[in-house]
């Protein structure tokens, strides 16, 4: 089963702590965490995101989409990075999430990633999506 561990800052404390922390130490702690998942044979993918102030939001609440340049919204909406892990249960995914080197003000959301079996196989678009993946048509593949 594949799970995504979604890292969020939900409180100013996390942002402040990150700004005050020694960057090399943060890299080293994350590196050790990632290495532990590599050594256990569970890490499938992962990435961090640049600061929200460099991003933008496209909001669909109005008739026409409204674009807002970052920084934007509530702190708890900030999604800072993710890991994809291949594990045997949700509990195992949670156990890995608990080991992340994060402090107060941070959260990890643990979500199962859907696979082909989660969708009706006779749907034209479900079939197309599987073909795109198989044909390597996703950018970066």
């Amino acid at each position: 089963m594949k799970y995504m561990l979604i890292m969020r800052a939900v409180d100013q404390a996390a942002v402040d702590a990150f700004e005050q922390a020694d960057f090399n130490e943060v890299i080293a702690a994350m590196g050790r965490y990632n290495e532990s998942m590599i050594e256990a044979g569970v890490l499938a993918d992962g990435a961090g995101l640049t600061d929200a102030s460099e991003g933008a939001v496209v909001d669909f609440s109005e008739d026409d989409p409204v674009v807002t340049d970052g920084p934007y919204g509530e702190l708890r909406e900030l999604f800072n990075g993710f890991w994809m892990v291949e594990v045997s249960s949700q509990e195992e995914a949670v156990e890995w999430a608990k080991r992340a080197p994060l402090g107060a003000g941070s959260q990890i959301e643990v979500r199962r990633v859907t696979g082909p079996d989660d969708f009706p196989q006779d749907n034209e678009w479900v079939q197309k999506e599987q073909e795109w993946i198989a044909e390597g048509r996703l950018a970066g593949n």
Partner: protein, 437 residues
């Protein structure tokens, strides 16, 4: 494909309390154990100097977690908690025995100090743990053990599976698995197997043994030899996980990476191998869009590593290369059969086997027509080498039918049906014979 569900944030504490039932805790204990078992047992063995005793202590600590955590809550450092409990159990056992003081000294640091730092500290020596886990892999694949014992012990001590999970994987009663593990530990004790890396001169042979155990574990899940379900993918995926751990510990061993590649590329096809009625779907008929692309990427990356490490390819690496050729073909017709025939040729040289020869004949038939395959089977005397193996007449029948030699094909399909041990396969072969008459 679907918009993400929105979930209202819940108060963490209340939610946790609510779920703190014994069953939920048992799942957390199992998850923790999967992640930490190898490290805990390896470092306990280092502390107490006896692998069997360390394994017993670890199991007692797990049992204690199952009874205490539902009441007391899940500790902040579950691995540290388990280690501390296991060490206390060791002391309790030794109290009843001789040489108490001497043995306590062997435990190293005082337990009191440890408890103070237990909330955060790693319960093992981070510089020594990789070697300790590698020792654990070698000891649980030790040649004094039977293959069955090696499989069970590996899943238990390296893979962190419970006896119940192992029993489920092999469709055996739990007591059978427990007995197997008890006997394995006794055999290791009787043979006085030390907890250390094998001496340099036996290293290649021992690595071959470890890989054979891991591959057998994978194959058992891939083509189950017993039970109503002919595939047990969870067991294969555990074998892949253990092989990836081993590859991390033996990064210079080409064949370990080759085995990771072979397993990943084979497992990539699992989603396409079961038909709607859970019947097997052959490679030729599989819906290739259902192959797992992330496993294919892992397989390709491991194959690259394996090929870069050594000039002469081992048998796992060669089989992985064959699997990679299939993985790269978007349709059956796109398959580079010439390359597959060449790789089977290399495999025949590396590890001569009539089954490999038969596979090469199939690839040659795909590349150059049925007569080429039939000729190769005749030249290499495959029929004589495998007289009881129904696949030989079955493949010959298929190739003869394709060459338009129907009468000979019927005779081969009937011969194959007579040799088949499985009713379903026999039916399929007789149906093929009938269609040609």
């Amino acid at each position: 494909m679907v918009p993400p569900e929105t979930t209202a944030p819940t108060a963490g504490g209340a939610d946790r309390d609510h779920r703190s039932t014994a069953e939920a805790v048992a799942r957390v204990v199992a998850a923790t154990w999967r992640i930490e078992a190898a490290k805990i047992i390896a470092s306990l063995t280092r502390h107490v100097g006896d692998f069997g005793f360390a394994e017993d202590l670890a199991q007692e600590a797990v049992a204690e977690a199952l009874s205490q955590w539902p009441e007391a809550g899940i500790p902040a450092n579950p691995a540290g908690w388990l280690m501390t409990v296991a060490k206390r159990r060791a002391i309790d056992t030794w109290r009843r025995q001789e040489r108490f003081a001497e043995r306590i000294a062997a435990l190293g640091e005082g337990l009191e100090d440890e408890q103070e730092t237990a909330a955060t500290a790693l319960p093992w020596d981070p510089d020594a743990i990789d070697d300790d886990v590698l020792r654990l892999i070698f000891i649980s694949c030790h040649p004094v053990l039977s293959r069955e014992a090696q499989l069970a012990l590996n899943l238990r001590v390296v893979g962190g599976l419970t006896s119940e999970e192992i029993a489920r994987a092999f469709l055996l009663p739990v007591p059978t698995i427990q007995q197997r593990i008890v006997r394995a530990k006794k055999a290791l004790a009787a043979a006085e197997v030390p907890f250390e890396l094998p001496p340099a001169n036996s290293w290649p042979g021992r690595i071959t043994g470890v890989l054979a155990v891991l591959y057998l574990m994978f194959s058992e899940g891939h083509v189950a030899t017993s039970g109503p379900d002919w595939m047990k993918p969870a067991l294969s995926l555990d074998a892949l996980r253990l092989t990836r751990i081993t590859a991390g510990l033996l990064p210079r061993e080409a064949e370990v990476h080759g085995l990771v590649a072979l397993m990943a590329l084979t497992a990539a096809r699992f989603p396409a191998r079961l038909g709607p009625d859970r019947e097997p779907v052959l490679l030729a008929d599989q819906d290739r869009t259902r192959w797992d692309r992330s496993l294919i990427r892992l397989g390709e990356a491991s194959l690259t590593t394996a090929l870069a490490l050594r000039e002469s390819r081992g048998t796992y690496t060669l089989q992985a290369e064959i699997a990679a050729v299939h993985a790269r073909a978007r349709t059956l017709a796109d398959t580079d059969w010439e390359r597959i025939a060449a790789l089977y040729g290399d495999l025949e040289l590396a590890a001569p086997s009539a089954i490999t020869t038969l596979n090469r004949a199939i690839a040659l038939a795909e590349a150059h027509g049925p007569e080429a395959g039939l000729e190769y089977i005749a030249d290499r005397g495959v029929t004589a080498a495998l007289p009881r193996f129904h696949h030989v007449p079955s493949v010959r029948g298929e190739l003869l039918a394709r060459a338009g030699r129907s009468a000979e094909a019927v005779a081969e399909f009937e011969r194959a049906a007579a040799l088949a041990t499985n009713d379903r396969e026999r039916e399929v072969l007789l149906a093929k014979a009938r269609r040609l008459q």
